[in-house]
């Protein structure tokens, strides 16, 4: 029998077995789905977070908050001084009044809060756009340190620091997600192995006949391997579909929000989806191989 014919037979038998024992097969498919869904969700969130970080990295600025009593002349002088630094591309003065207006525009619901505080509640600042936002050479960090110590300056905020924190969170999320998915996948493999072992047990009479008439081990075990693989593929496909549904729902219900831009700006790439589905198939196949490895059938 040619390999192609054998594979066709394996998958035909696998589909027949899946249909015949659909309840237990569904259990295996669902456990694989859950594990891949968890892994895929963490992957999607971390991918979007990291993409946001990358986007924001290009827009990062150093913000030098000034003491409330800093006079406009002093602000201009400080801005000119900052602009002379080799890494500064542009320096904008944001007065206390402009800062308040910006806050009120960004957070209209909190507008009354700052209005009721009297005077100007927010400090004036210098926003320094950097020539190369992605890099922070030691000289720049030393320069920022000198600014932090100046009497006119109350605080120096470098966006890069919180971006780095978000980046760390995203990486951590990915790690936690993969670890969690790994654990769940191990459970899924175990479930698949149990389902395949049960199916093999239910077919022990037929296996005995196959062996009696001269079937090879490859021919006898092939349908069970194919069944595990198909269960895994189905789990991967369902997980990908569920992920896409969650992504589409988020985009539909939260259009233009921070949540959408953070979590659902991009879906997984076709290559990532393919990997997710194939990973499911590999998990199912592993379960099948594991279940029959020590079985004499």
């Amino acid at each position: 029998m040619s390999l192609l014919k054998a594979l066709r037979y394996f998958f035909h038998e696998a589909v027949v077995n899946l249909a015949r024992g659909w309840k237990v097969s569904l259990l295996a498919i669902l456990t694989i789905t859950v594990s891949l869904l968890v892994g895929g969700a963490f992957l999607l969130v971390s991918r979007n977070l990291l993409a946001s970080v990358e986007r924001w990295r290009g827009e990062t600025r150093v913000v030098v908050y000034l003491q409330p009593e800093t006079a406009p002349d002093a602000m201009r002088r400080l801005a000119e001084e900052a602009a002379r630094a080799p890494w500064a591309a542009k320096v904008d003065i944001v007065t206390a009044e402009a800062a308040r207006r910006r806050f009120q525009d960004s957070f209209p619901s909190l507008s009354d809060l700052v209005a009721g505080l009297g005077d100007e509640p927010l400090p004036a600042s210098l926003e320094i756009a950097l020539r190369d936002p992605g890099r922070r050479p030691p000289e720049l960090r030393a320069w920022l340190e000198t600014w932090r110590r100046r009497p006119e300056v109350s605080m120096v905020d470098d966006d890069r620091e919180w971006l780095r924190q978000i980046e760390t969170v995203a990486t951590l999320l990915r790690g936690v997600g993969l670890a969690l998915a790994g654990g769940l996948l191990a459970a899924a493999i175990f479930t698949t192995a149990s389902v395949i072992r049960l199916t093999a047990y239910l077919h022990h009479d037929e296996i005995a006949v196959l062996r009696l008439v001269g079937a090879t081990e490859f021919y006898i075990r092939g349908p069970f391997y194919a069944e595990g693989f198909v269960q895994g593929l189905a789990g991967g496909l369902v997980a990908s579909g569920a992920l896409w549904a969650a992504y589409a729902l988020l985009r539909l219900r939260e259009p233009g929000t921070l949540l959408e831009s953070l979590l659902a700006a991009h879906f997984l790439s076709p290559a990532q989806i393919a990997v997710l589905v194939l990973f499911g198939g590999a998990a199912g196949l592993t379960g099948a191989v594991m279940s029959l490895r020590r079985e004499s059938l």
């Binding site: 029998m1 040619s2 390999l3 014919k5 054998a6 037979y9 009479d205 037929e206 005995a208 006949v209 196959l210 062996r211 009696l212 008439v213 001269g214 079937a215 090879t216 081990e217 490859f218 021919y219």
Partner: protein, 257 residues
């Protein structure tokens, strides 16, 4: 065709199933293997199709030492041997057609060839009209005939039957025995284990007798009332999968392992 040289089979518990058994069966012979329950008949048959290996001695089937055949080659040996059991071993959820065509399917025969082979095999046992029935819709005799058709579908060189009439009434037993005799008429070597001495004496033929694992008798009986056998139908021919003989005993060895 089948040669046993001082074959001993001991099971792990220490029980000796066969004790230094030697005999030779020529191609085309019909042999009754008899003895009381526990005499070692089933153990002997299992050794021939390599379901088990001897503790001592050698077994040659078609000149090949079956106990030294590597595990991966056992299927190819089994494709040359048809086996029938007392309990039929049919798969109840499969039709008669599916039950008899396991071997052609394994060998990659297309559906048309499978149907042709199934028809020929079932016609030989008189069940061509029940091809779509399920085993549980058949009588015990019919089920055994389906099992025989399964064993015969690829024209095996050897047919082994372990108490094939044990579950059947005398009339059906006689009917089944006639089938084996007809198969033998076409050149297949038949080794039939039974403890039905009346049947053996009526039919005659060579009889090997086992007692507590030892071969205590090897005699040719004339037969008191041998059945009149009909000329067997012509063998399945053109357009079918190759037989073990055609393939030089290596049927389907191109199959992926």
């Amino acid at each position: 065709m089948i040669q046993f040289f001082q074959v001993t089979k001991r099971y792990p518990g220490g029980q000796t199933a066969l004790d230094r058994v030697s005999f030779e069966i020529a191609r085309g012979q019909f042999i009754f293997l008899t003895g009381a329950s526990g005499a070692g008949k089933t153990s002997l048959l299992r050794l021939i199709f390599r379901e088990d290996v001897p503790s001592e001695g050698q077994i040659l089937v078609n000149g090949r030492n079956v106990s030294s055949i590597p595990a991966s080659k056992i299927p190819y040996l089994r494709r040359t041997i048809g086996v029938v059991f007392q309990d039929f071993r049919l798969i109840p959820r499969k039709t008669v057609f599916e039950n008899v065509t396991y071997l052609p399917r394994i060998l990659g025969a297309d559906v048309k060839a499978q149907k042709k082979l199934a028809y020929h095999a079932l016609r030989r046992v008189g069940l061509a009209h029940r091809v779509n029935a399920f085993p549980l819709e058949l009588s015990g005799g019919e089920q055994q005939r389906v099992a025989i058709a399964r064993a015969l579908i690829n024209e095996p060189e050897i047919l082994i039957a372990d108490e094939p009439t044990g579950n059947l009434d005398p009339d059906l037993s006689w009917e089944i025995l006639r089938l084996f005799l007809e198969v033998n008429l076409r050149g297949t070597t038949v080794l039939l284990a039974t403890h039905d001495r009346d049947m053996i004496h009526r039919v005659g033929r060579r009889v090997l007798t086992l007692d507590a694992g030892r071969l205590v008798g090897d005699q040719e009986l004339p037969g008191t009332d041998p059945p009149r056998l009909e000329a067997p139908p012509p063998p399945a021919a053109d357009g079918e999968i190759e037989t073990p003989t055609d393939a030089g005993g290596s049927l389907g060895e191109g199959e992926p392992e």
